[in-house]
């Protein structure tokens, strides 16, 4: 795990939390959506809070895809849940809202869960046969397709020399 990878995981956490809260704030302003009034969806997207929320969730998506390219799904997912912890801490210390004991328990559980996962390896799935090597699929392909070509070169040159 490099610093850059921790930064990506932090992006996953922060963008998910910020995006979700913008979205929920916006959705509270636009009100209910029903199957009979599908134009409500378009109205919802026109709300600036919803729009900013969607942009932030796109940033989340980019970091999430980035993280999934080098870590297990079961490793990255707990990082997304840290966003809830972040939101509760922001609510308590920045917005000075009351955080109930049950919510503090929730924070403790999520933090514990994330701690469990973070203490283990980030990637386990590559050990199984049939999966491409996640670190270097290009190199793996080159090794398969390019190996004979590499072998041919010394054979030809040695033939010329002798």
């Amino acid at each position: 795990m490099t610093f850059r990878k921790y930064l990506v995981l932090a992006g996953v956490t922060v963008f998910a939390a910020a995006g979700d809260s913008m979205l929920s704030h916006g959705m509270k302003q636009t009100g209910n959506i029903s199957l009979h009034h599908l134009q409500g969806v378009i109205l919802a997207v026109a709300n600036p809070w919803v729009a900013i929320g969607i942009l932030l969730l796109l940033a989340f998506f980019a970091s999430y895809m980035n993280a999934l390219s080098w870590a297990d799904l079961t490793y990255v997912l707990p990082a997304t849940s840290l966003g809830y912890v972040l939101l509760a801490l922001v609510a308590r210390f920045a917005l000075h809202e009351q955080v109930s004991p049950l919510r503090w328990l929730g924070i403790a559980l999520i933090s514990g869960g994330v701690g469990f996962v973070a203490g283990g390896p980030a990637l386990t799935s590559h050990a199984h046969p049939g999966d491409e090597h996640p670190e270097s699929p290009l190199l793996a392909k080159n090794a398969r397709n390019g190996a004979p070509a590499v072998d041919e070169v010394p054979t030809v040159s040695s033939g010329v020399e002798s």
């Binding site: 297990d72 328990l105 996962v117 670190e135």
Partner: protein
């Protein structure tokens, strides 16, 4: 909303959870096929990374499933009680993903990761409720 039956609310939650799990699994598989984007970016440039992701069919199926999950969550949230729908959908997705990652992605979901999935699911249920 009180006139919406409980069954519909849980049906909505189930759709959200199923679509999220399918989406997560497909996206995780797609990105494993693409490979480490840091390494690939350094070696072959950003456009190669973008091209590889956009030419991956699992990626598009995953995005479609995520879109289904997103809009069904919007519907479910507007029907049902937020304090039930949001935590139930989020925490059941965590548990579902742990099972699905083990079965479909062959991740080694050991005791450490099971504990994490259960703790996180419980914590999210408490926080989002």
């Amino acid at each position: 909303m009180n006139h919406i039956p409980v069954v519909s609310t849980w049906g909505g939650i189930l759709v959200v959870v199923l679509a999220s799990v399918v989406g997560d699994i497909l996206l995780a598989r797609a990105m494993k096929q693409v490979g480490d984007v840091h390494a690939l970016w350094r070696r072959a440039g950003l456009w190669t990374v973008v091209g590889r992701i956009l030419s991956n069919s699992n990626f598009f199926l995953g995005v479609t499933a995520m879109a289904v999950a997103f809009f069904s969550l919007l519907f479910a949230l507007s029907w049902g009680d937020v304090s039930l729908v949001a935590p139930a959908a989020a925490s059941l997705t965590f548990i579902g993903n742990a099972f699905a990652a083990k079965i479909f992605l062959h991740e080694k979901v050991d005791r450490r990761r099971w504990s994490a999935a259960v703790l996180v699911a419980a914590g999210v249920a408490l926080l989002a409720g």
